[in-house]
């Protein structure tokens, strides 16, 4: 094992896949010399040159569309948008085009592309640079949506995503970029659709995503001091979703708390709750399900308000205690 930040792990996955497959190329704003807004692609331009690392004008619709088109003819683009918020501009190409062409063309098309986007609040960047929009994307048949919580997961999942013949949305929480974690030496991939239990426990299942996994693990440590044994389950891919892992965990604990940064209503947590309610795990529930999520407002600028907006350890602990009360 070696220690890498999540940003380095993503970078390593990109470099390895570009080495392995000459059809893989990167496209996005300021991703060249500068290495992108968060320096994730740093050094790749110097190594592979301007044709494999395509620095674009500020044109999100064209970036997404160009990636879809390049993928249709057999190239394997990995596109980057500077912030998830800017997908609004690219949405037609992602949702009406890339996600659906295969189906609409009767199965004839393939769209082997990845769209990487940093997301998340907590950096005082206000309403247009802080959103978590994964629920929009999970709702679209034809897209797969990945959200890693550790450097090792990020690397293995991104390598799988690049090898898929589908349009994969790859969401990276900005706060995690600088977080270090152990990453296996040598070649490995992690399949899409496989959850991981990040902490085993018997009292309550906490299904958390992205940066909230780390925060939920912190909450679980604190709860353990009070004799509450929380299980933290990270789906890692939001779609395809590992229903079996969630159902099995809830059958074991009899209690469910979901945690994400996106606003609560119609969010990923609602889907997890519905899956449990529709499954045999429903009969095992000993308490109503609780969802911890971002407040139902645009992300505010002031640190004071933004802290209230975000889920945190205290809110997760309170929800776990509530389902155990």
């Amino acid at each position: 094992m070696k220690e890498l930040t999540l940003s380095q792990a993503v970078n390593e996955a990109l470099v390895e896949e570009m080495e392995r497959d000459p059809r893989v190329f990167l496209i996005g704003e300021d991703i060249g010399l500068h290495g992108g807004a968060f320096a994730v692609t740093k050094g790749i331009f110097q190594r592979f040159g301007p044709e494999r690392v395509r620095n674009t004008p500020i044109s999100e619709a064209a970036i997404a569309g160009a990636a879809v088109g390049a993928a249709l003819v057999g190239a394997r683009p990995v596109a980057e948008l500077m912030y998830t918020d800017f997908i609004t501009i690219a949405m037609d190409q992602v949702v009406n085009q890339g996600a659906k062409v295969k189906y609409m063309f009767g199965g004839k098309a393939r769209v082997p592309m990845v769209l990487r986007m940093p997301f998340g609040a907590g950096r005082a960047n206000a309403g247009q640079h802080s959103q978590s929009l994964e629920a929009w994307l999970c709702h679209v048949p034809g897209l797969k949506v990945v959200m890693p919580s550790t450097p090792a997961d990020a690397k293995g999942l991104l390598k799988s995503a690049i090898r898929e013949d589908n349009l994969i949305i790859f969401l990276e929480n900005k706060h995690l970029y600088s977080q270090k974690g152990p990453v296996p030496e040598g070649e490995y991939t992690i399949p899409l659709g496989a959850a991981e239990i990040k902490r085993a426990g018997g009292d309550v299942t906490v299904v958390a995503t992205g940066r909230q996994v780390t925060i939920a693990l912190g909450a679980a440590e604190k709860l353990s001091k009070e004799g509450i044994d929380a299980e933290v389950l990270d789906p890692r891919t939001l779609w395809p979703l590992d229903r079996e892992a969630i159902i099995a965990s809830v059958k074991k604990t009899g209690r469910l708390v979901t945690v994400h940064e996106a606003v609560k209503r119609f969010g990923f947590g609602a889907e997890v709750a519905a899956i449990v309610a529709e499954s045999e795990a429903f009969d095992y529930l000993d308490a109503p399900i609780r969802r911890v999520a971002g407040a139902e407002v645009p992300v505010p600028f002031s640190k004071f308000l933004e802290d209230l907006f975000l889920p945190d350890e205290q809110k997760i602990i309170a929800a776990c205690k509530a389902v155990l009360a």
Binding site: E60, I89, A124, Q128, H129, L305
Partner: protein, 320 residues
């Protein structure tokens, strides 16, 4: 129509306000009290000041992520801006927006914008609204050279020209979109030529010359107000600072920066005014002193202001 001479003194005062305001922000940033994304327009003051001086009080602007100058030039209060940047309840947007979302609708400032290109169609929409309501006002849309590569730029210019909307498109060509030079982002580096495609006047302007900015904008505003349709003005300018606080600025040379600093718009107008006997050095120094005093008061006001009340998290999402 012959445009009257530029209101030099007002423009000078505006430019000094913008420069001093952002210099003060740099101080606050070094003290670690400034959070979030803050983009400085130091060097580009002539564009904001010259354009807004050519507008009338009831006219509107849309602005950008680099918007402090536009706000100040449209008459925004610097104390309320500082409070907003510190996330305080007394700020322009109650601390909910920060640097990239400062707005003062009463002043005709329809908002800074975190989305590159986001304000361009809003400006045309405001112009459309003005028409629908039978009003005579004009809208100026500020945006960068980078924003001109967004689809909405093209959609909006076409629509505005088609409907002869009273809007002036002000492209601040500061030569870079973040780290990418214009030459690597636009197939046609003379952005004014893009106006040809939409059959509207396109003019390249020395954006370091406040008088020239005022003169050209006044003509375009007059045209718009007379119902003759929009114009595209491309102001050649430069941001003396990095794209954001802490930008290592690896994408341009020190010499290039120094060459542009030699064209400092504030020093230029000062020289013109003093040289032509329109003001004395002492008078102009007095303006600097007055602004410095106002800014100190503004900082004190902001720092002594309260944080937003927790209940504010949930207000303002919908109109009642």
């Amino acid at each position: 129509m012959k445009t009257a001479g530029a209101p030099d003194r007002r423009i000078y005062e505006t430019m000094v306000s913008i420069r001093s305001f952002e210099t003060k922000l740099q101080e606050l940033s070094r003290k670690g009290v400034l959070r979030g994304s803050v983009h400085f327009c130091i060097g580009q003051e002539a564009v904001a000041a010259g354009v807004c001086a050519a507008l009338s009080p009831g006219d509107y602007i849309t602005s950008t992520h680099r918007g402090h100058g536009h706000a100040i030039a449209k008459g925004a209060r610097m104390d309320l801006m500082i409070a907003e940047l510190l996330g305080k309840a007394t700020g322009y947007c109650k601390g909910k927006g920060g640097s990239m979302h400062i707005a003062d609708l009463d002043l005709g400032h329809l908002g800074a914008n975190g989305i590159v290109g986001g304000g361009i169609p809003i400006a045309a929409g405001a112009a459309l609204g003005i028409r629908q309501l039978g009003l005579q006002n004009v809208v100026a849309a500020f945006f960068g050279d980078g924003a001109a590569n967004q689809g909405v730029f093209h959609e909006t210019l076409n629509l505005a020209a088609l409907w002869k909307l009273p809007v002036v498109f002000v492209c601040e060509n500061n030569q870079f979109g973040m780290t990418t030079p214009l030459s690597e982002a636009s197939s046609q580096p003379d952005l004014a030529k893009r106006a040809i495609a939409y059959d509207m006047p396109g003019t390249r302007v020395d954006g370091m010359d406040a008088r020239e900015v005022f003169r050209v904008t006044s003509d375009a505003v007059g045209r718009a107000r007379a119902g003759k349709g929009p114009s595209l003005l491309v102001m050649d300018t430069y941001r003396f600072e990095g794209h954001y606080i802490g930008d290592p600025v690896v994408y341009r040379t020190r010499e290039e920066v120094e060459d542009w600093k030699a064209k400092d718009p504030i020093l230029r107008l000062r020289k013109q005014m003093v040289g032509e006997g329109l003001a004395t050095e002492a008078e102009l120094d007095g303006i600097h002193g007055e602004i410095a005093r106002k800014l100190d008061e503004g900082v004190a006001f902001a720092q002594s202001s309260p944080d937003p009340d927790p209940s504010e998290l949930f207000t303002d999402v919908y109109s009642e």
